[in-house]
Amino acid sequence: MSLLEKSRALSATVSRRATLLALLVVTALRSDAADGTGKLVREYDLKAAFLFNFTHFVEWPSEVFADTNAPIVIGILGDDPFGPVLDKIVEGETIRNRRLVIKRSQQIEDLKSCQVLFISKSEKGHIDQILSSLGDASIFTVGESEGFARHGGITNLFLQGNKVRFEINAQAAKRRGIKISAQLLALGTVVGPEAAKEID
């Protein structure tokens, strides 16, 4: 609970809570206090923040946007585990002058024009189908099941202790025309098709 303690200490000293990280912590505290299933709630709060943070360190080819003002669309496929937290995080934010829009759907067809696609645990059974249907479209795919990155997804979020970590398949991103910042690569665990085969 060191993070919690840290958050509590912070709540006393930091007055402005409208910023990203503060919001994240506040949300976590409230969820913690509300339903007692703190672990899950906190996990998705962090994952929501990750989802948003990825957009800082990822660049798409310009063709994916209709025009220079077109928003970055974050799609949620399957059951939404974030609730209003994600909406609150992206509200009012811009990345390289583009707004952020959340789009939720059970059908992959609805989300093919997204830039970031979160594939919920509920779609665990047919991930391969989803990925193959996307083909080489320039979509930064984020999953939360083991082997997601190894099997053609770009990023897979997982828990290590009480911290959220991620894997990145740089090859997959490259194939889809997406540039990932070296800083992001340095933070995540890089995996590739070769690595996937080894695991298989």
């Binding site: 912070l10 910023t19 503060a22 800082h56 990345i95 911290k163 992001l184 933070l187």
Partner: protein
């Protein structure tokens, strides 16, 4: 500062150049060091900023994804920069996120980030710099650097500056030593020249001119001064030689004079006795003089000697007057006018004072005195007294006054006479003029009567008419002569050279023409000349030669002479005839008008001619006189000045 004044010029010049250049260089170095200090600090801050920005940028993802391990890994890159002592990343909320410290250091990190900026703390540079992601602040980086790099730069720069300063000083010294020669060399040469001149007293040496600057000017002035000194020196030497020669000459003269003097002294001794004798004779002579007051005054004007003449004229005895001031001889009026002093002054300034004036006697009576005052000098030329000679000129004065009175009377009379004479002449002229008209009528009508009525008056009547005519003609002649006489008296007298011989020849020619049957021998001396009025002199010759012609008319053979007579250095012209002459006892009547020595029947004439002649001669300032004897002719002499 005496040592600076006494310093040789070449050192001074070198010192000036050295000081100037070193000061300039030092100032420049200080400026450059200062500049370097400021700029290197700025550079350091800039470099640190860049480093902070790079690190901040690199740690953005670590901060965003809350990965402290990644953050510390990034900070470890600072190991490559040994001057960075410590670094720290703070989250957006001011929490320490990751730290770094150089090995062996345990720095105190600020617990919270401060505002953006940098500052130097003793030997450290400390900086806070925000970390941005997409224009948003996501954290802060803190860096702490030591100043070793800066100190190194400063040290090496100071080292270089020192080297440059000393090197430049060395070069400057060489250059200034060489340059100072340009300035000091001409001065030193001038000084050497001056020393040579001083040591040898040779003013013919000249300094060599080196260029046209101030030193050149100084050299020129120095040379001009030398020329002047040379000239003056020469003049001085000549003057000295001359002086020596003169001293020698004078010494010789003095020797001679001395010898002469010795001879003279001996002679004086001999003559002294004679002089004393002569003086006593002179003294007794002076004392004996009765007509002159001769006495001496001392330099103050008091009477010192007195003679018998003085006693007689002024009435004082010698005992009474000696020692008294001489002003008592003057009248009160003269004393008031300061006469005595003035006369002594005139005597001193002009060497003599002669005056005439009234003086007082002892008894108060006055006499007219002629006074001569002469100053007496000693051998040095100082006035020691006066000699005074006074003469009683009262008698002479009276006679002069008398004579003056007479002269005045005479002058008055003369003026009156002259006026009367002028009136008379005017009268006679007008009378003569007015008389002629009725005479011409008388003669003319008588002639008409003879011609028209001659047969009616008979022979007696004719005779009477002829006598009337002769009478009136004679009267006409008389009037002509009178007019002539009055004419010679009037009018201005011209003086010019006149050829008397030629004039006499003309007159004689006319006489011969009027009386051609006469047998007359005429002797006219040639070359007789005189100064006078030619018209009047012709009148003189006409009358004198005419008279000679007339009074020789009875001679069957006559001789007439005109010439110059010399007698005892006096010369006079003369006209001589051998005619009837006259008795000298009537000579007084001869020159008076209307006086005749002969009857009209004997020799016709008016008796005015000689009066006219005498008038002309007198007007010329000459004299006329005559010598005659009955039947032996007459000789008229005249002079013209």
């Amino acid at each position: 500062m005496h040592w600076l004044q006494d310093m040789p010029i070449r050192w001074k010049v070198t010192l000036v150049i050295l000081l100037t250049s070193t000061t300039t260089l030092l100032l420049a170095c200080v400026a450059f060091v200062h500049y370097e200090l400021v700029t290197s600090r700025q550079t350091m801050v800039r470099d640190l900023q860049v480093l902070a920005d790079v690190l901040g940028q690199n740690s953005a993802a670590a901060l965003q994804f809350d990965d402290q391990g990644a953050g510390e890994n990034i900070l470890l890159a600072l190991q490559a920069k040994p001057h960075l002592i410590a670094a720290c990343l703070y989250t957006k909320d001011g929490q320490r996120f990751a730290t770094y410290a150089i090995r062996g250091m345990h720095p105190q990190f600020p617990s919270q980030p401060e505002v953006e900026g940098s500052h130097f703390i003793s030997d450290r540079l400390v900086m806070f710099r925000p970390i941005h992601l997409d224009q948003k602040v996501i954290g802060t980086i803190y860096l702490q650097s030591n100043l070793d790099e800066f100190d190194d730069r400063l040290r090496s720069f100071t080292r270089i500056a020192t080297l440059v300063v000393f090197g430049a000083m060395g070069v400057t010294m060489v250059i200034s030593f060489w340059m100072q020669q340009l300035v000091s060399q001409p001065i030193l040469r001038l000084a050497n020249t001056a020393q040579v001149i001083r040591d040898n007293n040779d003013y013919s040496v000249r300094a060599e001119k080196q260029g046209r600057n101030e030193i050149g000017l100084l050299t020129d002035s120095f040379n001009q001064m030398l020329t002047q000194i040379q000239t003056q020196d020469g003049a001085l030497r000549r003057a000295q030689n001359e002086l020596e020669q003169r001293v020698r000459d004078r010494t010789a003269e003095l020797t001679t004079a001395n010898a002469t003097l010795q001879v003279e002294v001996a002679e004086r001794l001999r003559t002294g006795e004679a002089l004393r004798e002569s003086e006593s004779r002179f003294r007794s002579l002076l004392d004996g003089v009765q007509d002159y007051a001769i006495f001496r005054l001392d330099s103050g004007g008091c009477v010192a000697t007195w003679n018998a003449g003085a006693e007689r004229i002024k009435g004082y005895t010698a005992e009474e007057i000696i020692g008294q001031h001489f002003s008592r001889f003057y009248t009160p009026e003269d004393l008031q006018g300061g006469k005595p002093g003035q006369e002594l002054n005139i005597a001193i300034t002009q060497g003599r004072c002669e005056v005439e004036g009234l003086r007082a006697r002892k008894d108060g009576s006055r006499f007219w005195a002629n006074v001569v005052i002469t100053p007496l000098h000693d051998t040095a030329g100082n006035v020691t007294g006066f000699s005074k000679v006074t003469r009683d000129v009262t008698e002479r004065r009276k006679a002069e006054e008398e004579k003056q009175k007479l002269t005045d009377v005479l002058r008055g009379r003369t003026t009156e006479l002259e006026i009367a004479n002028q009136e008379l002449e005017a009268f006679s002229y007008s009378v003569s003029h007015d008389l002629r008209a009725p005479l011409r009528g008388l003669d003319g009508f008588s002639q008409a009567l003879l011609e028209d009525y001659g047969d009616k008056v008979g022979s007696d009547g004719k005779k009477l008419l002829q006598r009337i005519r002769a009478g009136s003609q004679r009267m006409g002649q008389l009037i002509d002569d009178l007019l002539n006489l009055s004419r010679v008296s009037r009018g201005e007298l011209r003086r010019e050279p006149v050829d008397l011989s030629g004039l006499a020849g003309n007159v004689v020619d006319e006489l011969r023409t009027s009386d051609p049957q006469r047998d007359v021998t005429l002797r006219i001396s040639e070359g007789l000349k005189a100064e006078g009025d030619p018209r009047l002199l012709r009148v003189v010759l006409e009358n004198l030669l005419g008279n000679a012609w007339k009074y020789t008319s009875r001679q069957p053979h006559a001789t007439i002479e005109f010439g110059l007579h010399r007698d005892n250095g006096h010369s006079s012209f003369f006209v001589r005839d051998d005619g009837v002459g006259f008795d000298m006892q009537y000579v007084d009547k001869l020159f008076a008008p209307f006086q005749r020595l002969h009857g009209m029947t004997e020799f016709p004439g008016t008796g005015i001619g000689l009066a006219t002649v005498q008038r002309v001669i007198h007007r010329h300032g000459g004299r006329i006189w005559v010598q005659a004897e009955v039947n032996k002719g007459a000789t008229f002499h005249f002079t013209l000045s």
